[in-house]
């Protein structure tokens, strides 16, 4: 049984590694991303296959280390490596289109958005963590390889979702302040769980025989893990300050002045442009903005005003409203823009921009939004 699991895990991991690095090769990645992914991948490998896994059956402390490696070392490293994007690029174009079609389905998108809300992942991860430490659940995992695999999978997946939501999630760097708070909250409740294990007068899990072992496990969950959380929290915090600096520079003082002196209302300073964009395209810019988020344009493009759209895979879309050409050779007209959005390969078969099966109306809305960017 154990052997079967080991083989399965190994196979799945090799597959994921292959896919990821195919994706990395076929597109442009930041240097640290594949490194982080590889490090995270190795951590999982070390945790799940080999002596650590064997020892974890007899020593609670080792088992705890294994879990912590999965949740607070491997999961954030993998998330930093952006596995979804590169994994997608590792697929063949047709497979990619299929996957995209599925993931762009409204139901899937909605669910995804719902479960990756930062508060939601915070709570879900907490529940998963605490629930699996209930004695009968933990004992079950110790005696049954399938339950054990489910436990590890849930630990890893909810942790990865947690880190994804706060590092790459929809608020991006803007949300790092809140992320610090979430890291703090998670550090707190895991420390409390560790402290409870440490201070308990009896053994929680009959399969582990020694009190010292349980105390050490509690300590590992409490102090070294707490340290990792602190480091992560500080890193996020520093990034938040940096983002604040960037934003302040971007809305540098002259801009601020211009905006406020010459435009009536800060909320609607783009008012005339909005009207113009509506007229040009017949779409609704506000809806376009949400459509842009829904289709995931931001994973390739930098789009002002769209949270999280900071990528550099494709060209930045700022000031697209005043550009002359689209895709290098197409005159920038509303009709062409909409066509390009909806079926890029019909204009440039070699374009890396995927056909995302954008509906007519969404295309209109997206174009409307883009035309407000001047």
């Amino acid at each position: 049984m154990r052997l079967v699991f080991d083989i399965l895990v190994t196979l799945a991991m090799i597959a994921s590694l292959t896919l990821y690095f195919r994706g990395v090769r076929s597109t442009k990645a930041r240097v640290y991303e594949p490194i982080a992914f590889a490090a995270g991948w190795l951590t999982i490998f070390a945790a799940l296959v080999g002596p650590m896994d064997t020892l974890s059956d007899v020593l609670f402390a080792v088992h705890m280390t294994q879990h912590e490696l999965l949740m607070i070392v491997a999961a954030p490293l993998i998330v930093i490596g952006r596995p979804m994007i590169y994994g997608l690029w590792g697929l063949s174009p047709s497979a990619r289109a299929n996957v995209l079609a599925i993931t762009r389905a409204p139901a899937v998108l909605k669910t995804w958005r719902a479960i990756t809300g930062p508060v939601v992942v915070l709570i879900v991860h907490a529940i998963v963590l605490w629930a699996w430490h209930i004695p009968f659940a933990f004992e079950g995992a110790l005696h049954n390889e399938t339950i054990h695999a489910v436990q590890h999978l849930m630990f890893f997946v909810t942790a990865a979702l947690f880190w994804w939501a706060i590092i790459q999630g929809r608020y991006g760097r803007l949300g790092y302040g809140v992320a610090v708070f979430f890291v703090f909250a998670t550090a707190m409740h895991t420390s409390i769980l560790g402290a409870l294990l440490f201070f308990a007068h009896g053994r929680w899990y009959p399969s582990y025989h020694s009190m010292e072992d349980q105390q050490l496990a509690g300590l590992i969950m409490w102090i070294p893990s707490g340290l990792i959380f602190i480091v992560a929290g500080l890193a996020l915090f520093a990034a938040w300050l940096g983002e604040s600096e960037r934003r302040a520079k971007a809305s540098s003082f002259t801009t601020l002045l211009m905006l406020l002196l010459f435009c009536a209302c800060a909320n609607e300073y783009r008012g005339d442009r909005i009207a113009e964009a509506r007229q040009l395209t017949g779409g609704e810019p506000e809806r376009g903005k949400t459509a842009i988020q829904r289709y995931g344009c931001g994973t390739c493009h930098t789009i002002p005003g769209v949270p999280g759209a900071k990528a550099t895979v494709g060209p930045p879309l700022d000031q697209i409203g005043v550009r002359t050409y689209l895709a290098g050779h197409l005159i920038n007209t509303p009709a062409n823009l909409m066509k390009w959005i909806r079926a890029p390969q019909s204009i440039d078969p070699k374009s890396a921009m995927p056909d995302m099966f954008v509906t007519e109306r969404d295309g209109r809305d997206i174009a409307a939004y883009l035309y407000t960017l001047k």
């Binding site: 709570i123 529940i127 004695p135 707190m188 409740h189 409390i192 409870l196 201070f199 308990a200 007068h201 009896g202 601020l256 002045l257 406020l260 002196l261 009536a264 209302c265 800060a266 909320n267």
Partner: protein
């Protein structure tokens, strides 16, 4: 009437800015989430105390403990969960400034929350141990007290909001507050679920 800029100095004119905003743009939104952070910390500390005390005992809960009937406690949970639906309508409608769904949502939400208060009262009356029986009784009653306090104050808040909504006139700047009331109420609902599970099903 508004301040106007004297000639000769550079000025940023904010006279046309709106007078309210939704979500994190609104200071009260921050106030509410900080309040929830405080409350959550209290709940977490109560839960931690519960598990700390549990760690001292081999039989838990102590012998002779009779909980309120499961169906009754489940009824409270159902009422709480049901109240989420109408308040969700109100939450959605508030940002679109549509008064009617807000009114209906709050009316139904208040009814559901009042129902939860009633079943909670029966629950409390049927608990088969006292706060002075043992440490288990003390901590469980403390949890019950804390949550019932939130439950009643949340219900009162929902009721007051309903009255205000029907009485009118309703200012636009009430809309963010409506959404915040909903969030608070959901907190009351969500915070009970883990406690309910622990109290009803945690046995060794």
């Amino acid at each position: 009437m508004s301040e106007t800029a004297p000639v000769g100095r550079r000025f940023v004119d904010v006279s046309e800015l709106p007078m309210f905003a939704f979500g994190p743009r609104d200071p009260i939104w921050w106030g509410l989430w900080l309040l929830l952070a405080i409350e959550s910390t209290m709940f977490v500390l109560l839960a931690s105390s519960y598990f700390y005390l549990r760690g001292n005992e081999s039989t838990w809960p102590p012998p002779g403990v009779h909980q309120a009937p499961l169906w009754l406690t489940a009824l409270t949970v159902v009422a709480l969960l049901l109240s989420v639906i109408p308040t969700w309508w109100a939450f959605r409608a508030a940002i679109q400034f549509r008064l009617r769904p807000i009114q209906i949502g709050f009316l139904l939400g208040t009814l559901a929350s009042a129902a939860a208060c009633v079943t909670r009262a029966y629950e409390l009356a049927t608990i088969g141990y006292n706060w002075n029986s043992h440490a288990y009784g003390s901590i469980v009653w403390a949890i019950y007290f804390m949550h019932t306090f939130h439950l009643t104050s949340g219900t009162v808040e929902n009721a007051v909001m309903t009255v205000l909504l029907f009485k009118g006139p309703v200012e636009k700047k009430l809309m963010p507050d409506i959404r915040l009331s909903c969030i608070y109420w959901w907190f009351v609902v969500v915070s009970w679920i883990p406690f309910w599970i622990v109290i009803m099903f945690d046995k060794s």
